[in-house]
Subunit: 325 residues, 2 copies
Amino acid sequence: MSAEGRYAACCDVGGTKALLGLVDVDGQVLARERYLLGEQRDPQDMVEELAHRFRALATGAGLDWHKVLGVGCSAAVMADIERGIIFSAPNMLGSHRDVPFRQLLSDATGRPALIEMDAYAAALGEAWKGVGAGVDYFVYVVVGTGVGAGILMEGRVYRGWRGTAGEFGHATIDPNGPQCNCGRYGCLEALASGPAIALRAEGALVQGRQTVMSAMAGDAAITAEVVFQAARQGDEVALDVVRQTVEYLGIGLVNLIHILNPQVIGLGGGIILGGSDLLLDPLRREVVRRCGSWVDVRGTRILATSLGEDAALLGVARRVWEEFV
Amino acid sequence: MSAEGRYAACCDVGGTKALLGLVDVDGQVLARERYLLGEQRDPQDMVEELAHRFRALATGAGLDWHKVLGVGCSAAVMADIERGIIFSAPNMLGSHRDVPFRQLLSDATGRPALIEMDAYAAALGEAWKGVGAGVDYFVYVVVGTGVGAGILMEGRVYRGWRGTAGEFGHATIDPNGPQCNCGRYGCLEALASGPAIALRAEGALVQGRQTVMSAMAGDAAITAEVVFQAARQGDEVALDVVRQTVEYLGIGLVNLIHILNPQVIGLGGGIILGGSDLLLDPLRREVVRRCGSWVDVRGTRILATSLGEDAALLGVARRVWEEFV
């Protein structure tokens, strides 16, 4: 089937919102839409809404729906990617389990479909059109509500035995660290994710330290975004929280570098998108410092995403182009 | 070229001794020799001694040297494996650098040659004839004087950008831990290698704790072997040292499991060979405990080497068979 005039219908479904995009063979996003997910997380309703919005998006952009090559969906799932079955995806599908999501999506759209884990999708997208392009050994690390990674070896996803490779948010960084929502202590996710950053700031407030963050947050809870804003104003407490975050992320990245020796580590996710001006250069210095005498040998470059929120869209688009052409 | 009657000449060169083996196409070791390396570490002398001993070993076993398919050498090296150049190998070659070892070995033996990193060689050997056989995602961890790993994905070595993947002995396990010989703090190697185990036992002695280890070691320094012997007699100090070792190795393995999701982790090296009765079951329990709610998902099996000291020999033999047939 020729690629002429055809496109992939892709979505990246998060916990509260979904990003839709129609992507051509060159990785151009021809049309894009973001929408908030409702409270109801019935899989059948979800695929029907996706199908409806995909068609409307195509029509609005003057694209013929019959020219859709296939549909791809990225999400934070525990899944059998090959068979397209989502075992569990609490943020996306609530308590629904063992959902044949690929089949539902294909039935609703009338086109072949595939699913992909969000960190792997973003890694594939960056490897196609972003900071991982042309890189044989590439790791893409997502730092947001959670922390995860997609590992690529010569363009192929390193999935692991049951498809859960890259869950390095649950690597122990400090055995004496705070408890993680997985139940263990000192996981990277419990030290450097958005909620962990917010929690450390709250902790400083409870200790009575003077900071502009209380006024900034007002009645609302402190978020990582508030921490970053305060740090940009020179607030010492916020700067301390940022420094600690850099230190923990630095340990995590150096561990990845020693184990995987990637040429490039790409960084994305909400925390990086929202705080790269505060995090990136200090993180590079921390990695160099922690690599010690290894730094010349490893030489891994650390780069912020160049695709931003489109990374996962492009990753599933790439898979659609590879599998359905 | 037919495999009929042919064999691979393989060696595993360590810091003080070398193991030689002639290996047939089925992975049978037809003849084996171990010898101590001299103080002198001249590369030319070393390959000539290897060539001489290979020929003598073949003759002694009634094998025709002309039937040697190729020569393979495993060692703890920093090297360009493809070009066969050893950049640095302090234990094996002292201060010699940028040694074209593959070419030297080929010239000295008159056969095509290859070199391989020791942890990768052992991983390949176990994947061929040991605990990694038939396993798509296999990691082999060597715990000895150092700590390292070989990562296999569907039988292929995951080498990383500059061929240094698997150096997880220098992953940080405890940021507040002791200094490693790499200069950083709390590396797994500084907590769980043979010298680290011995050092922790010495530390307990310095604190004045009662232990049979002082009498056991006599005038000599305490070694990991002494710790294991004392632990087997129920010595509380030695048992504490073993328990801490299990804890640190447990953190390291769980981190590997989260990042790589292997089906099987094989364990080898001097510390495992010498202490598996004390380490293996507690380590499995520690990993289950630390995986928490992930344990059913991960399901990684932890198995001690079934090839022991032959693992690396068989790994280079496998590469010789793959590349030179």
